[in-house]
């Protein structure tokens, strides 16, 4: 195996990337290789699907497969090798279908049928030993000896960004939001990668185009969430236990949560959110359920100890799953793209077994002392008080905005973000999103003119909301976003963050501080390009970076 797609990738002995029997995420070599092969198969599908769509014979079911299968290869999503062998079988069938559709459309329109090569004509073996024997061909580093690590790194940037876009698009799809344009762009991206591109300018252009696609996708997801569940509003989310049977929902999928809330209504079972499900407490159509009892625990990396202590079953709806410990592995369930060998996977929102498990378990014996945090400062909430904010800026009561968001992780250097927020002056406002906020979201940082200094805007995909706020402020102040008193501190861990980063770059947002470490696939020459074009910065120390931001 070789994998360097996430922030915790091995950097031992100066070698960047996980290349041993088991990656730092817990993914074994066999699973990693199968994921690479699945990506290769997806490229083959995309080669035909793009051409078929160009001829008016688009296949959105193939597009859905691309979203789902790409999502399964994100960090901490699916570790079940058997699921990948099944998906490879399915990929072969889908590729044959889109190939036929392309050839028929071309023939019907008098267009010469292209003789495709590479992934398009890969004969996908049915025997797993034969499959695995071909893994090197599908490695992210394939061809590095010929083209060099910079090119391979740029290809990886696009691939990993595309994985993030697919994950968001899958979430949107679960909320009945999809778009031909997005399928077309993703097919085009994967077709581009299938051509083994080597031109730096073309690679950079493709990465930025993908960033724009991600903005569209985040907009679709935003529309899906607000369309189904209403506009997020500032709300108190309880962070302490309530007596009674309990189910914990982790991941990102609000549609799963909504279905579970509906199915558990009146059963006496309380439902708790975990990690990136926290924003659920701000959506009117979700918080209307009295048994959406509260938020439990912190960010994803603490799940092994937190899940062990939760007295009910756990539902993992998307990333980020870590190897379940013995203490809870029989009561954690997966849904959607998530998988772990030996865990029960729930299909089609049938949560009956989860409810059975909750009833069989003790639940919380007693109420804990009530504690709450405030969530729900989406763009509507913030822009709803835009006049107050603008007046506060003009009056000097708010001197600077910080966007501190993204992923959390176990690395010790991630206390950078809590240290940074702790040191922000009292006349500044912090917008936050993603699970990085768990480093500081339970502290009281006070308020400015009735507006809390820390505004939780939601999940990582609610970067869309943050962008809308920034754009609205720039209009109000009649300046460019880059001229606002706004500094972005992006904490990345996996591929959704890579997609968000590409969006910010596509919007020409400059001066982003990225950490806690830089992606291993961004080589020094590529980094220099990003610095030259976008003034992207790596974390140094909270003190120095804060001072630099305030002096800008």
């Amino acid at each position: 195996m070789f994998c360097y797609q996430c922030e915790q990738t091995s950097r031992a002995d100066g070698v960047l990337g996980c290349a041993s029997a088991v990656g730092n995420c817990g993914k074994d070599a066999q699973t990693s290789d199968l994921q690479d092969l699945l990506i290769h198969a997806v490229k083959g599908i995309a080669q035909y699907a793009k051409r078929a769509r160009d001829l008016g014979a688009g296949d959105n079911d193939a597009g859905k497969f691309i979203l789902y299968s790409m999502f399964t290869t994100l960090t901490n999503v699916n570790f079940n090798p058997a699921r990948f062998t099944s998906m490879l079988t399915e990929a072969a069938e889908i590729r044959a279908r889109v190939k036929k559709a392309y050839e028929e459309a071309a023939t019907a329109q008098g267009v010469v049928v292209e003789e495709l090569s590479g992934a398009a004509v890969w004969d996908i073996p049915t025997e797993t030993n034969e499959l695995l024997a071909q893994a090197a061909m599908a490695s992210v580093r394939a061809g590095e000896a010929e083209v060099g690590e910079d090119i391979v790194g740029l290809r990886a940037l696009i691939l990993y960004g595309a994985k993030g876009v697919c994950a968001y698009a899958y979430h949107a799809l679960m909320l009945d939001e999809q778009s031909d344009e997005v399928y077309a762009n993703l097919e085009s991206t994967m077709d581009f990668l299938a051509s083994d591109p080597t031109d730096v300018d073309a690679l950079v252009a493709q990465a930025l185009a993908l960033g724009h696609t991600n903005l569209t996708v985040m907009g679709m997801l935003d529309a899906g969430n607000t369309g189904k569940f209403g506009t997020p509003e500032p709300s108190a989310a309880r962070i302490s236990a309530v007596a009674g049977k309990a189910i914990l929902v982790s991941g990102h999928d609000m549609a799963d949560l909504a279905a579970l809330l509906e199915q558990t209504e009146g059963t006496g079972i309380n439902v708790y959110t975990h990690g990136e499900m926290l924003p659920a407490h701000s959506y009117p159509e979700l918080k209307k359920y009295a048994h959406l009892a509260g938020n439990y625990g912190g960010a994803w990396q603490d799940q092994q100890s937190e899940f062990a202590n939760f007295p009910g079953p756990i539902l993992m709806t998307s990333n980020c799953i870590i190897e379940p410990a013995a203490s809870y592995r029989r009561r954690i369930f997966t849904a959607g793209p998530v998988g772990w060998p030996g865990l029960r996977h729930i299909e089609n929102h049938d949560f009956s077994v989860l409810i059975q498990a909750a009833n069989a378990m003790p639940g919380f014996a007693a109420d804990s002392e009530e504690k709450t945090i405030t969530v729900g400062f989406g763009r509507d909430a913030v822009l709803g008080v835009a006049d107050v904010v603008i007046d506060a800026v003009k009056a000097g009561a708010i001197k600077h905005f910080f966007l501190v968001g993204g992923c959390d992780g176990a690395a010790s250097g991630r206390n950078y973000y809590s240290d940074l927020v702790d040191q922000t002056p009292d006349d500044t406002v912090i917008l936050t999103l993603g699970c990085a906020k768990y480093r500081f979201n339970k502290k009281d940082y006070g308020a400015i003119g009735g507006i809390p200094r820390v505004l939780d805007m939601g999940q990582c995909n609610d970067s869309y909301s943050a962008i809308q706020v920034a754009v609205a402020l720039s209009k109000a102040f009649e300046c460019e976003v880059n001229e606002l008193p706004l500094s972005l501190f992006v904490s990345w861990f996996e591929q959704k963050a890579a997609a968000v980063l590409l969006t910010l770059l596509a919007l020409n947002i400059k001066g982003i501080t990225l950490g806690p470490t830089l992606p291993a696939f961004i080589t020094p020459p590529v980094l220099n390009t990003l610095i030259d074009s976008f003034d992207i910065k790596a974390n140094t120390t909270p003190e120095a970076d804060l001072a630099a931001a305030l002096a800008a």
């Binding site: 062998t85 034969e130 029989r330 059975q356």
Partner: protein, 348 residues
């Protein structure tokens, strides 16, 4: 004060877990002292549940049943941890994944009899339901392949039986128990057991589990009621819609011993890629199925598998003779021992 040594367990999934063990302490007890629950039942070297393999280090292996640990296995570093006393630091391979090694005491739920049925072939189906504990919780979590110790009501006599149903949250535990002449548990089943009876149990226990992360084809070789844990595994595979190419070799001595045939037929219909055959060792002239032991049938197919480069995961359960014979076949044909998972049914 006894000398203390460091014991490092290498789990099947490549992880490590360590604890200290005094020279006058066996590995199972020392692990328990460290809040590590290793598979063990009889604690007397008779059942084989605590089998491991010493990779390095000195130890003393106390007396044990040859059925639980064969001489040949012992020569190659095989140990029964309940009978192993360290004489130096040790590294021991165990067949459990780290995520299956629990901590704290093994649960001891009280169960109620839901059904006692004759399955044919002198085999009894016992269906139990775990009763809620004082917290209102039903401790009925188990992994396919595990067993429970069942206590005859009113006595302290316990027998270990593999669970044959799939994990569930209704608290149901199903067992397929061959009735032994003069067997104490058999006598209770035949003469006294009735619906509504309560009995003390202990479990789940055991490390004979599906290699969940494997994608190789699966071969299940069962002798008699050794099919029970495999039914649990296959039933979960059906529920999980697993698509591994699988084959069950179900061995019995004669047609008179037939049982669980309907259950196997049901699984053939519900497990995506399962085939199964009943192997009769001493068949009558009219027997239409495989004539011979399940190991003979397994050997026939393993040769074909290996010729195609396929190394299946092989699950063996039943009497020690069957396990030994199947292991010998695998070794002769070149299947790595890491592809073998076994549970020996030994007389209690």
């Amino acid at each position: 004060m006894s000398q203390t040594y460091s014991i490092c367990l290498n789990t099947q999934d490549g992880k490590e877990i360590s604890f200290d063990c005094a020279a006058d302490e066996n590995l199972i007890d020392a692990a328990a002292q460290a809040n590590i629950t290793l598979p063990a039942v009889c604690h007397e070297g008779n059942c084989g549940a605590c089998h491991g393999h010493c990779k390095s280090g000195e130890y003393e292996q106390k007396s044990h049943s040859s059925g639980a640990l064969s001489e040949q296995d012992e020569e190659h570093g095989g140990i029964l941890m309940c009978r192993t006393f360290p004489r130096g630091d040790m590294i021991v391979e165990v067949t459990s994944d780290l995520s299956h090694i629990t901590s704290g005491p093994v649960p001891e739920p009280v169960c109620e009899v839901l059904a006692v049925d004759d399955m044919g072939g002198n085999v009894c189906r016992l269906l139990l339901k775990v009763l809620p504990d004082e917290q209102g919780a039903i401790n009925a979590e188990f992994e396919p392949g595990q067993f429970m110790e069942l206590e005859i009501p009113g006595t302290d006599i316990r027998r270990a039986y593999s669970i044959s149903n799939a994990p569930n949250w209704s608290g149901e535990l199903e067992f397929m128990i061959r009735l032994q002449p003069h067997g104490k548990f058999s006598s209770w089943l035949l003469n006294d057991a009735k619906v509504g009876d309560q009995l003390n149990t202990k479990g789940p226990e055991g490390s004979f589990l599906l290699h969940q992360a494997g994608i190789a084809p699966r071969r299940f070789v069962a002798g008699g009621t050794g099919v029970a844990p495999m039914l649990s595994m296959l039933r979960q595979m059906a529920e999980f819609q697993e698509t591994h190419e699988s084959h069950l070799y179900f061995g019995l001595t004669s047609e008179e011993d037939l049982f669980a045939i309907d259950e196997i037929e049901e699984l053939k219909a519900s497990v995506a890629n399962l085939t199964a055959e009943v192997c009769i060792w001493k068949p009558t002239a009219t027997w239409q199925g495989f004539r011979g032991s399940p190991v003979d049938a397994f050997k026939r197919d393993l040769e074909a598998d290996l010729a195609k480069g396929i190394k299946p995961d092989v699950y063996l359960c039943g009497p020690p003779g069957l396990i030994d014979a199947a292991e010998k076949v695998a070794e002769e044909l070149g299947l790595p021992h890491t592809s073998l998972f076994s549970e020996r049914f030994l007389p209690g």
